[in-house]
Structures are given as structure tokens and as C-alpha cells.
Symmetry: C2
């Protein structure tokens, strides 16, 4: 029996696509630089058992397998191989359980953040991880360890995945962790699979930690003279213990672009705008309106002391729009013709020095580099405008290298995938790369899961 | 050159102990059931380079290596092998840095929790993980993924380890993570090493996340008619969003023992005591005395609604003593002649059913089983009084099995080590055990690190 026939037997004829039946969407994710690639087969399994049978068939045929959620990734790790199978989780999109006693959601990988948000809101809970793109699937979030704006308070995907059902490339299905926040019972397979970009196992179910949903939110916007003064202010805001939900910096060019695109008036007078090269956005939440008002006042005073040119408490509508516009910064950069984006992470104390380095690298290569990012986390999102691929590669190398020299890592939340792999292999400690390859081998002795992602195939 | 001579060359003659020079303390940890074992050599390295050289020498000689911090572990994972080297980290006990901008501490493995508490208090920060035994070393905490009473608010060791320096059994030294809370740059080696009980690598440095230290604390004690009603109340307290620092349950027998041992008067009238089979202890913290007072009142009202027989706001001195006494519950149980202790973790919603099972297992085997635990985390600490080793083994098997059937895991924070290994091998999914063994092989191809811990040697 040929592979296509076997796959049809497993998931049903309607759920195997081959050749021209494969839509363009399956060929790419949102990475700016990846080459769209149509796989040999798209398979849409309906259960973990079907996923296991698909992996067994693929292993026997020696055919590579790539997993896909919503295709909103930014590292190319969901871009299939021409000779491979793309396993699309679009049919495995059920919220299996919202458990209000253990405070967890149990979801299939194809569930989107939007769907989970709606389901948790109904019961007064929240899954607080908040990456920009809410059409993203939880399976994709788990595989890239997605982060987002609320990480400064709640952490990232990793901190909310309590357990997994996952199919190994050997065809075995395992369950890791559970509906509890801690265990010391052997190696933490959950945490190893989170962020592995589809190279170790296919996630078929995730147990996600929920938080009580706070009722009140407020947003403070503070223009600062420059990025360095924003970076200096951030640790003091975190250290104050006020527990900010969001601490974003936005440079003046990016703020101009996203407010223009969103047609958004924030009420910052021109004379302040002119003096401001960078903005800090602080969002607070609370269950008590009175406590929230007190906290807003305290943060305002603190930011003034820390050199803010002014402090604005944004009305609800404007605040929501600003956060939405910030979420869409990637698409704004894309629309403006950005050639690549990066999301280096580094110790937040090193931000001023890193920003100086960025300026130096940009000027030295006649490249436009602008951005925004999760200031509380030291996670810098930069849009790189440089048409020449060779110069751009060098610029990225230099930016990553500068971040790593300051104690950082290449990616805070987007992942390495195919597209940042060369930089990862060039810059990361070879002993760690070799160790990771041996771990990969422990999971996937035949190397069928996402070859070419993280490492060379 | 023989091994002893080579070790002396690496760490200096004074830092290698052999034969009678090896003190009794090196032969054991605090596990009730482990057989004390004197190793062939105790080595006390002073640097990561020395650790690497020791591991290289051990690998060449094919001699097993066990790491030891303070020896306060409860799973036997720091108990050396008769033919092996015990690497004691007592000389690597420096706090290298308290970084108040990035909010991290960088510590050597031999630093104790007491030392870190003093150093962070000076700068208004706190390392919030709070296992019972404060003489424990951070290296030991990292290797067992230690938990403790504050996990319900702050999580466990795993959630605070941002990066490591670790020596692989191949002799290579790697640095993982960094002074940042997130990364998506290859497999998370930090999280894999945390909780691996000295079987994958020797940790020589850890970057630990700190939190702002809150100034105000308050403690509420609520007697309940039975364990089931405590277990029912706990999810509602967590779900209220009040953010309790501590949520401990203590059964009446254990409460009697620890208050008697500590000579502690809590002001609970006899007529309430007589009706109460279980207590809930709720600790709250805040930077504002007024907010704290409001929260104490709100929790008190909530607990009354949830069936508490009464609610007592404990004065500072009594509260501190009660928490201290609770921390020492293990030693109280030990002093009372407990034959073993376990720390099963399970979904908190399953606690009432688990408690019913425990009673059934205890009565069916004529075993006394009493306890306390981290109710907010579903982490149940039980002292088992049963002299007959065979019956006791069966009781533990049944308790673990009951917990796992309810979606739990064998150990929440103590680890598997040597002493719970047989239960782990008997009860855990063989596919996961085999995968863990392959991961072990990826780190430690010669199997020199802590053989006999987690798996059979």
C-alpha cells in the first residue's frame, strides 16, 4: 500500500490532501523570510490515535512530518517539507474541559486563543498568556513557548502548561504532568516538549493553568525622552511590587506607525511628542476599582520621578485600541515593508547598552531598525528594513551576537525554526547544540519530526 | 595514577576524604528508610573547573558520582554508592550576586536557603520558595525541584530557576538560560536539569528569580469539621483571587502533635477542637497594612461561608510559631516514630476522594496514616506508621496508586531518588520510563551520575 492510501485509511479520504488539493495556506506560516513549500500530503487527524498511526506510517516510510496549528508562527517551524506530511490540527479543536475547581483548561491543539478566552471568560477565569495573534492555536503556542505582553506578571506559555498528551515519533502516546502545579517524579517531559517546535513529539492535548479573572483594568502611557530612560525606569516599576500586567516599550517611530495605522488619538500634545523618543505603556489590573485607582496614582508618581515627560491615564477605549495596535505591530511592520523581525531577549538591565548597540549596528550597515517590546522581560522586538539579504544576515548576526554578549538569547518567544537556525548554529555553544541533538535522538531516533528545524536535517 | 591521587591533584589533598576520614554525615540524607552508605571518596571541589575534572576522572575510571548539598533530602538521592565518589558542594557556597535591577540572585550550589533569605532581605527582595528545611542548599533544591508552603502563590523551585551553569558527565560545562524569564531558543535544558536528582549534570551555579519582598503578613486559622470540608473550601479560596501566600491543611492528629511539640497555644477553645478533624491555615501578604486587613476580613467571611467552625486571626508571634511548627512536621513525625513519609500530589479537586481512599488503605492494613500538606497545590504529606516493611511497601504502593488513579503523581516535591524508585518503576508508564532512560543516556552515556536513582543502575 502506498503512503497516501495508508494515510487515507487512518484519517479517512476526506482528511488527506495531495497535490493540487493542497491550499496555499498550508505552505507557509507568517515568517517574513521563509519560502512557501507545498508538502506531499496534508493530513487532518481527528484523535491522538490517528496521530499515532500517522507517525507510525511516516516512520516506516521514512517521510518527514511537520505539525501545524493556525500557521501564525514567526520562525518557519510550521513550514512543511516538500517530501513530507503536514499534520494539520484544525479538526482537533475542542475545549475538552474548563475545570473551575482545579483551575485548568484541557484543550486540543487546534483550539485558538480567541476560543479559549471566550470559554474562560464565561466562568470568571482567564488563560493569561497573551501573544499578539489571538487566532493562534494552543498547540502552536505550546510548541513555540509563546509569550506576549502579560509575561511580566504571569509568565509565558511554559509556566501555564501543567501537562500534555503527546505522541512520540515512535508511535507511543504518553501523558505528562497533570492538573497540578508541581511534581518531582522523574524528568519534566512537559517542559522539554514545550518550546521544542514540533521536533520531539506531536502534542494532542494540553492541560493549561487558569487564573482568576480580574474585573478592573487601567492603562498608563508615559512618554520618555529616550529608550535608555525607559529601560532605566522599568526595573523600578517591577521592583515596586505593584504587579503590572503589561510593561511595554514602543519607540517613537513604531508608535507613530501603529497609531497612524489604527487611526488612534492618545492625547499626547505635539510638544511632548517632539521631545519623546520612546513610550512606556503600563497596564494594571485589580478586582477593586479603588485599589486600582490608588495603584494608577502610585505608578504615575513613580514614572514622573523616573523621568517621564508626562503621564497619561488612558480612557478604556483608547487603552484597548493602543494595546490592539501594539499587538498588530508585526503586521504594521510587515505592511511598511520590513524585511525581517527578531525578538532577542536579554537581562532587562542590559537594555540601554543593547539599544546603543542596535543603533551602532543599524547605522554601520545603513539599515533601518525600529521596534517595540516587552520591556519588563527584556524582550526586544525589532523590525529590520534591509533589502540586501547578505547585509541583512550580517545585521541579524550582529544583533543576536550583541544580545548574547550581554547575557541574552536569540529568541524570547518566536523560536528558532528554520529561519533563525543558521544564527543559532553559528552563535550557540556547540556543546549545547550536540546535547540537544542527542535529546532529539532520544525522542526521534529516525529523525522524522520536523527535520531542518533547530538543526540541519 | 590511582583515582584518589588524581582527585587530590584536582581539588587538593585537604579536599579528598577516604576511608575513616569520611564523617557519618556524608553517608546519608534525611530519608527515613535509606541505608547509610559510606562512599569510597568524598571530594569537595571549589570551582566548576574542578567539578569538570572530577567528572572526567570518574568517567575514565568508570566510578559513580553522587552530588550532595546539605543532605536534607527525603528521597535518598544524595546517598552515595559504596564504590563511588560523593561530590560535596560545601565549599562552593558563595552568593555571587544579588542583582537588584534584573531581580535575580546568582548562587553557588552550596548556598543555603537561610543565607539567601538574609542576603535578599537586605535589599527588599525575596526568594519566595520556602521548603520546610531552611538549612537546605540551593543546589539540592534545584535537583529535587523543592516546593514548600508558598507554592500556591509563587510556584516551586522550577519556576524560579532562570539559568544554570552545569557540568555534564562528559566533562563539558554549559550555561543555560540567563537573567530573563523567557526564551524560545532550543530545548529548555534548565528545566530538564531541575528536578533530575543529580542524574543528568552537576549544577555549579544557578540564576534564581527574586520577587519584591512584601512588608505585611497575616495568618488566619480555621478549624473545619473534617478533611473533606477543608478540601472543598480550598479551590474557592484560590479562585477568589485573593492571592494567598500559604494554604496549608493540617489534620487534627498532626495539629495536636506539632502544637504539643512546639508548646504552642493557638487559642482554639476545647469545644471547637473536639468538633474539628482538620485545620486550614491561610497566610496573606501585602505592602499595605490596610489592604491586608481588608483581605483578612474577606478571607474570614469566605471561610465561614465555606463551613469553618470558627476563624481565628493569629497574632504575629503565634502565627510564626505555627508555620515553624508546620515546617518541622517531618521531624515531629520522625520523633513520633513514623516509618516513612510520602508527598503525593494530585488535582486539588480530588483531595476529598483521596482522603477517603487513604482512610480505607490505612484501616485495611492496620496502619496509622496522618498528615498535613499544601492544600492549594493538592500536595499531600503523609506520615506512615507501619513497622512491617512488606506491609508498608504495599501501603505505599496502594497510596501512590490511588493518587495516580485520580490524576496525580508519586511525588510533589521530595523526588523519587532511591527510596521511591521501585514504586516509580512499578506504577509509571513504561513508555515514559524508557524515554527518560534515553534522555539519561543523551546526557550521561557512561551512566556515572547517580546510578540507582530514578532507575536501576
Amino acid at each position: 500500500m502506498d503512503l497516501a492510501a495508508r494515510l487515507e485509511e487512518i484519517v479517512g479520504t476526506a482528511n488527506v490532501l495531495t497535490g493540487d488539493a493542497i491550499g496555499d495556506d498550508y505552505a507557509h506560516d507568517e515568517t517574513l523570510t521563509a519560502t512557501p513549500t507545498t508538502p506531499a500530503h496534508v493530513v487532518r487527524p481527528g484523535s491522538a490515535d490517528e496521530v499515532a498511526a500517522v507517525l507510525t506510517a511516516a516512520a516506516e516510510a521514512g517521510v518527514p512530518v511537520t505539525a501545524r496549528g493556525s500557521g501564525s508562527g514567526l520562525s518557519g517551524s510550521a513550514v512543511p517539507r516538500e517530501d513530507g506530511i503536514l499534520v494539520s490540527f484544525e479538526r482537533m479543536n475542542e475545549i475538552l474541559e474548563i475545570d473551575t475547581v482545579n483551575h485548568v483548561a484541557v484543550v486540543q491543539p487546534g483550539v485558538t486563543l480567541t476560543e479559549l478566552e471566550a470559554a474562560t471568560a464565561e466562568v470568571g477565569m482567564v488563560y493569561p498568556v497573551y501573544p499578539g495573534e489571538l487566532s493562534a492555536s494552543l498547540g502552536g503556542n505550546v510548541n513555540t513557548n509563546a509569550g506576549g505582553m502579560r509575561a511580566v506578571k504571569y509568565g509565558v506559555t511554559r509556566h501555564h502548561v501543567l501537562g500534555l498528551e503527546a505522541v512520540l515519533p515512535t508511535g507511543e502516546t504518553i501523558r505528562t504532568g497533570g492538573k497540578f502545579v508541581k511534581a518531582s517524579t522523574g524528568y519534566d517531559l512537559t517542559q522539554l516538549i514545550v518550546g521544542s517546535e514540533g521536533t520531539l513529539a506531536l502534542v494532542t492535548e494540553a492541560i493549561l493553568k487558569l487564573q482568576p479573572r480580574m474585573t478592573e483594568q487601567a492603562t498608563v502611557l508615559a512618554p520618555f525622552p529616550d529608550l535608555a530612560s525607559v529601560a532605566t525606569a522599568v526595573p523600578k516599576v517591577v521592583g515596586s511590587g505593584i504587579g503590572a500586567l503589561i510593561l511595554e516599550y514602543i519607540d517613537a517611530l513604531t508608535m507613530g506607525a501603529i497609531t497612524y495605522t489604527a487611526d488612534l488619538q492618545l492625547g499626547v500634545p505635539d510638544e511632548v511628542k517632539e521631545k519623546s523618543q520612546a513610550y512606556l505603556v503600563v497596564m494594571l489590573e485589580n478586582n477593586s476599582a479603588q485599589r486600582l485607582a490608588e495603584d494608577v496614582e502610585a505608578v504615575g508618581e513613580l514614572l514622573s520621578e523616573l523621568g517621564a515627560l508626562d503621564v497619561y491615564s488612558l480612557p478604556g477605549g483608547a487603552a484597548r485600541k493602543l494595546i490592539e495596535a501594539r499587538e498588530k505591530a508585526f503586521f504594521t511592520a510587515k505592511g511598511a515593508g520590513a524585511d525581517d523581525i527578531i525578538d532577542t531577549v536579554l537581562p532587562r538591565a542590559a537594555l540601554p547598552e543593547f539599544f546603543a548597540k542596535v543603533l551602532e549596528i543599524a547605522q554601520g550597515s545603513q539599515t533601518l531598525v525600529v521596534g517595540c517590546g516587552h520591556a519588563g522581560d527584556g524582550n526586544v522586538h525589532l523590525a529590520v528594513f534591509q533589502k540586501d539579504a547578505e547585509v541583512r544576515h550580517r545585521v541579524l548576526h550582529d544583533l543576536f551576537s550583541a544580545g548574547m554578549a550581554l547575557g541574552g538569547a536569540i529568541s524570547g518567544e518566536h523560536g528558532i525554526g528554520r529561519e533563525k537556525k543558521q544564527h543559532f548554529l553559528d552563535l550557540e555553544d556547540p556543546a549545547k547544540i550536540e546535547l540537544m541533538k542527542r535529546i532529539k535522538q532520544a525522542f526521534d531516533p529516525r529523525g522524522i519530526l520536523n527535520p531542518g528545524v533547530l538543526f540541519d536535517a
